[in-house]
Every structure is written in structure tokens, then in C-alpha cells.
Amino acid sequence: MTEQLMLKQALTLLLEKIINKALSLNINDNTELNGLNNKCLTLNLAELNFPLSFIVYQQQILVNSLAENSDCTITTSLKTLKDLQKNQQLTELIKQDKLDINGDIKLAQQFANIAQNLSIDWQSELAKHMGDIATYKLGRVAKTLANKFDFFKNQVQADSSEYIVHEQKLVVTKHQLNDFYQQVTQVSVKTDTLMQRLDALTKK
């Protein structure tokens, strides 16, 4: 069914369009692509059951799901890719078996450089379609919203960590719970003994 709906092809088509549009809007130059002509980087993501191959053709990147001619194959998950972006902890992730690289590691670094080098001037792109004034106003609104969102996010994070710290003091610990169970058992034993004595006295 998935094959009939061609989800794989739809995803590669969409990715190819987005990547090449981003490259065409990049305010930095894409000179790094020149040295990579016909090179192929393949990503095997745990979340997908097919590979994603990125092939450099002149100043463009083609995306398909053919993995046979790859110069470098990276096997990982989307989450690990995010971690990699944040912390640059390549060696650590390889040691933890969260990331596997086969082939030319330099190629992977060059692709990463291209991605890091991407910078799009959204305001001037929008201004081409909406005009300068509307873009400026939209930019201000977006900036205000982004600031508010950041504030809200930070506030929620601070509140929740504070809540956790204070509430933690009130929460029954495992040790206390075990003590309580022990005391209940002792009381239970004592009541049983008392019942036996009462039974014996009543019989007399």
C-alpha cells in the first residue's frame, strides 16, 4: 500500500525541492558544492525503512532512495542527528552505537558544512512579494511573537523545575514507604497475638 501511494518518492521529491530552494536563497555562496560534484551521501535513519541518498550535481542536490553508489553512509536516528547538531559530540555518539559512519567521513563533514553555511535572508525574500513596509511590520510582529514565545517557554521551564524541586520534598520516599509497610506488619502481628489471647480468655 505504501508503495502504491509512493510515499518514499513523495518524501524525496519534497526534500529535493526544499534543499535546492534553500541553496538558491542562501546568502553565503555554495562554493563547497563544487568540489563534491557526483559525490553521494546516504542516510539510513531508524525512523525510515528506506535510505535517503543525497547526490551533488553541479550546484544542486538530488535526493533519491538508491543507496548502491554511496561514498559515505551514515546510520543513525533523527534524535541523534539533532544531538549531533547541538553538541558536536561525534565520537561519543559513535562509541554509544548511536551513530555509524561507513566510507569517506570527510564527505559527511563537508555536507554538514554546507548545511551550517545555509543562511536565508527571509525579510528580503518576503519583501520581493509583499513590499518593504509590509515585510518590516510582519518582521516586527514575528520578532515580538518569538520573544513572547521564548519568554513563555523559559517561564514554563523555570516554573516546572521549581515545582518539581518543592514538591519533591513532600513526596514520600521509598525508604519512608518501606518503614510504613514494616510498621503496618508489626501492628498486624500484634493484633493477631491479641486476638489469640482474647480467644483463649473467652474459652475459659
Partner: protein, 256 residues
Amino acid sequence: MSAPEQQNNQDNSTHFGYKTVDKSEKASMVAGVFHSVAKQYDIMNDLMSFGVHRLWKRFTIDASGVRPGNKVLDLAGGTGDLTAKFSKLVGKEGKVILADINSSMLNVGRDKLRDKGLVQNIEYVQANAEYLPFEDNTFDIITIAFGLRNVTDKDKALASMYRVLKPGGRLLVLEFSKPEHELLNKAYDFYSFNILPKMGELVAKDGDSYQYLAESIRMHPDQETLKEMMNNAGFEQTSYHNLTGGVVALHKGYKF
């Protein structure tokens, strides 16, 4: 040889849509259709298929297993959608031949690809699929997308493709086929005979050509028949994938 083809071979007649015509006439009649629609072909493809033809073609490329250095024949290649992709994937060492029987389609395809800067590894050949002007065992991959149903003698064309394929090479036939579900079949019929010709009239100013398109799809062999025809031509490990509920099928066969 398929039953209808066999019968047509005996009485020297064939189909042109729902009409039965003399075999010698079909090629020129089909040529007339494509001379007429060539300039609007890409726009009409997008409109008629709602852009899904791009995914069908992408599926074909993925199924081809193309490698750098391969020699590919894009038969009935028309405006060169598959050629453009193959050209990028086979690289400098490879070669793609865009072949079409129709000069108008070939001209539109050549202009489009040159405008995209695709020149280094593409050649253009005006050729009839039944009599391919290439040496035996020349190509690693042959594709024919939405072209086989317009060929007068399909068996002869398949045999010709088999001849020019290298041993180990593969043929991929992307073509309209028979929808798997009756409800989809009815909706597809309604769309093909009521909406498609009107769209053709409105956009390409040529309703008749799109009426022919709808009729030629219905007259084209279904999935199993085409598979059998490929087997008869000598192809091995033949298989097909239904796409979009069988509206389109991709047949694949190897020459060993």
C-alpha cells in the same frame, strides 16, 4: 504474442483509440496527435495527473537501479522528464539517449533539456520503437514511459528493445493500466471520458487528442497481458508494480 495483437497481425489492422485502422496508418495518426499536443504536453501532464506523474517517474528511476556510467535509452522519451533525471545520475561516464518517433516532441524535449543546462551526456534520436537503430547489446537500461500504448506493433517493439539491451540489462515500462478496484475503475472512466477531453479542449485547444488518450488507455493490454507479452519477447524475471491503485503500472523485465 497477445491475442488482440495476434488477431491484428493476421488482418493487418490495429487500434487507434476505439477505432480499428490499418497498421500502416496508425503511426501517422499517432504522430498527428503528438504534433498537436507537444507544446502543451508538460502542462497537460501536470493538470491531468494532478502532478502525480512526477512520482510515477521518480518510482521508475528508483526501480531502475541506475548507476554512474550506465548507458540508458529513454524510449518515447517525449519532453525528457526521465532523461533529465538519468542524465544527472549516470554522470560524465554514462550516456542517455532520448528517442522518440515524433519530431515535435523531440524538439520540445531537446529545447527543455538544453535550457536546463543538460547537454554533456545526452543524445537525441528520432526512432521507431519497432526498428531501433542501435547495435545489439547496447544499453544497460531501457525505459518507455507512457509510450508503448501508442506503438503500432507492441510485440515487435518489445523484441527490438530486447535486442538492444545488454545481457543483465533491464526494461522498465511505465504505462497506464487497469485499476484494481471496480469503484476506482468507474471513477477513472468518468474522469477520462468526461473531464479529460474538456480539459484538453480548454488548455491545449485539442479535445480530440485527449479523447484518443482516454481510448488508447482502455485498449492497452492490462497488467498480466503486458507481463506475458514481455515474457514472450524473451524478458526474464518480469514483474509489475501497480501505482495509484493500478491506474498506472510499472513493468520490469531483465535480459540475461
